[in-house]
């Protein structure tokens, strides 16, 4: 995989590297040729790695003080908030960190949608990403149950009951998930175990995600294949490291704003009431990052089909590399796709909004239209667009639009080769 042979300078380094080529790996990561036109939308991979590490570190610390028991969980969270040194800070970082993680992942996903990063030869990177996204949702849901507040309890009840929609075995699966006849202590302890496990699964998948990325290399805003290394690329270090670092700092300002100024704005007040199996809160809503899918679930009047629609809305993304029939990656050169892309963005935002509203009247109607459009975009618009759309001419290299300038493509191409 390495683009050049690497030999450590020191004698010990050479001895070690012959036995475990860690230094070769470090050299590959440092010199990794990166397209030189990557914009700030490409910095979210690094930001997401930061988010994952933050969640793991703060989560480990919280687990030292949290007690996974139905009678004690709620009090132990308050104990963390009031008694544990800096407990409030660690918990607020962890709770808001989940939201920041999703904010970053949505930007990361929509960046891929805009620049066609999911297309050949990057399908496996994309599918691993979708699996990571699914695991993130699972981890977020499980983690939200742990404080054992009203929203925790009823959120857990509603989500686990989704499985009861499965014909024949549904009820049995739900009882198995609960370890009882309702959400109770056995449910809490297993949710804690799984919440602890999933971040490490994600970490493993992130390694595969990056590994798969380093085979073809990064996509870029122009969306063309580039020779690497060439004058279209720069080494990852220091160029991308500095750019990622700067973006990360900006991101951390937003993160810190939530943690220090409005730590509860993304949560629900109901979750500061201890779980009560006899009273359902008047209005149950999931965390903001799950709202679009919640809206899809509620927009279908049938229980089983609602669940199927919600799951399909996520899984359809995995088929995206084959649903999008256009050979051109970047939306920059796809004038029609670019418009449909922004309609999709608006559609998802609308779904998120109606997901937070009661499922009745106009909200329900809007949710149904938006749900229909969501599927239409992936199943009808994208496959047809690839054949019908008249795309703009794509440059031959990243440098060409800036320096090539020649209307004669052959000449520009020739010039490229000459400069190498």
């Amino acid at each position: 995989m390495s683009d050049h042979e690497y030999t450590p300078k020191s004698k010990f380094g050479k001895w070690f590297n012959d036995r475990l080529p860690l230094l070769t790996l470090a050299s590959h990561l440092t010199d990794y040729p990166t397209p030189k036109n990557l914009n700030y939308w490409w910095t979210f991979g690094g930001i997401l790695t930061f988010c994952l590490i933050t969640q793991i570190v703060t989560g480990l610390v919280l687990a030292m003080h949290y007690i996974a028991h139905a009678d004690m969980a709620f009090d132990s969270v308050e104990h963390i908030m009031r008694n544990v040194n800096y407990g409030w800070l660690i918990r607020y970082i962890h709770a808001n960190g989940a939201s920041m993680f999703f904010l970053a992942v949505y930007i990361h996903i929509f960046r891929s949608l805009f620049y066609g990063s999911y297309k050949s030869p990057r399908e496996i990177i994309w599918i691993i990403g979708i699996i990571i996204y699914l695991l993130m949702m699972a981890a977020a849901f499980l983690g939200y149950v742990l404080p054992w507040g009203q929203m925790s309890f009823w959120g857990a009840t509603v989500i686990t009951n989704l499985f009861s929609a499965i014909p024949l075995v549904g009820e049995g699966i739900v009882t198995w998930l609960w370890g009882g006849y309702s959400v109770d202590n056995p449910t809490l302890t297993r949710f804690f175990t799984l919440h602890y496990l999933i971040p490490f699964l994600i970490l493993g998948l992130v390694v595969l995600h990056i590994w798969a990325l380093h085979v073809p290399g990064n996509n870029n805003p122009v969306g063309i294949d580039i020779k690497k290394p060439s004058k279209d690329t720069v080494p990852f270090h220091p160029y991308i490291v500095i750019k990622d670092g700067f973006a990360l700092l900006m991101f951390m300002i937003v993160f810190a704003f939530f943690v220090f100024y409005t730590p509860n704005i993304l949560g629900h007040a109901d979750n500061y009431i201890e779980a009560n199996p006899l009273v359902t809160p008047a209005h149950i809503v999931p965390e903001w990052y799950l709202l679009p899918f919640y809206a899809i679930l509620r927009s279908v009047p049938d229980k089983l089909l609602g669940v199927v629609a919600m799951l399909s809305a996520i899984l359809i993304l995995a088929a995206l590399p084959w649903l999008d029939t256009s050979k051109i990656r970047s939306a920059v050169f796809r004038p029609l796709y670019r418009q449909f892309y922004w309609i999709l963005v608006a559609d998802v935002l609308i779904l998120g909004y109606v997901g937070a509203m009661p499922a009745e009247g106009l909200y329900l109607l809007v949710a149904r239209v938006a749900t229909a459009y969501y599927f239409l975009h992936f199943l009808v618009v994208l496959p047809i667009l690839g054949y019908k759309e008249k795309t703009l001419p794509v440059p031959l290299s990243i440098t060409e639009p800036v320096l090539g300038g020649s209307p004669n493509l052959a000449l520009a191409k020739n010039k490229e080769n000459f400069k190498d």
Partner: protein, 169 residues
């Protein structure tokens, strides 16, 4: 392949795979089954409820197997309303007589059959129950009338131990 004679080694391989698969399944099953309700959960199977102080129009909620059970002493109007409904108007057709053996007493699981929330008493378009989570309306017999829930609220096994006590489970 078909012309090849089956050798002792092929038999050994097949037998090894088969025994290995059975062994793996035997180890996996306890790992799965440990998540099912344990003996202590199953032991809490029945609850007795004192209903002597209940007047018509009153509902109490008791916990049975960690789930709420509604016990409602229905008014004459509610009983009449429940009996007047035509079966063909129902999404999940059940006669009121089959749901409330003693028409004055309705005993049912207070769990919405959509996704398991607890419906609110005396709310909704049918004077019965209304689930705030996803907007299911139930009538005075706990039957689904409007909204996403697929079936009526479940009637648990129960009996009158004497005139003042109901045993659920």
């Amino acid at each position: 392949m078909s012309e090849k004679k089956v050798k002792r080694r092929d038999f050994l391989f097949t037998a090894t795979y088969a025994v290995g698969a059975v062994g793996a399944a035997a180890v996996v099953w306890p790992m799965i089954d440990q998540m099912n309700p344990d003996a202590s959960v199953k032991a809490l199977a029945s609850t007795e409820v004192d209903i002597s102080s209940m007047n018509p129009g009153k509902t109490i909620t008791v916990l049975w197997r960690g789930k709420p059970v509604f016990i409602r002493r229905r008014t004459q109007e509610e009983i009449a309303e429940a009996k007047a409904v035509k079966l063909e108007d129902l999404k999940h057709p059940e006669k009121d007589e089959d749901r409330a053996k003693n028409p004055e007493w309705l005993v049912m699981l207070g769990v919405c059959t959509h996704l398991g929330c607890v419906p609110l008493d005396q709310k909704g378009d049918y004077n019965g129950w209304f689930c705030p989570c996803h907007g299911s309306h139930y009538d005075t017999s706990g039957r689904i009338r409007k909204g996403p829930a697929p079936t009526n609220m479940e009637i648990p096994e129960y009996k009158f131990v004497n005139t003042n006590t109901i045993k659920i489970g």
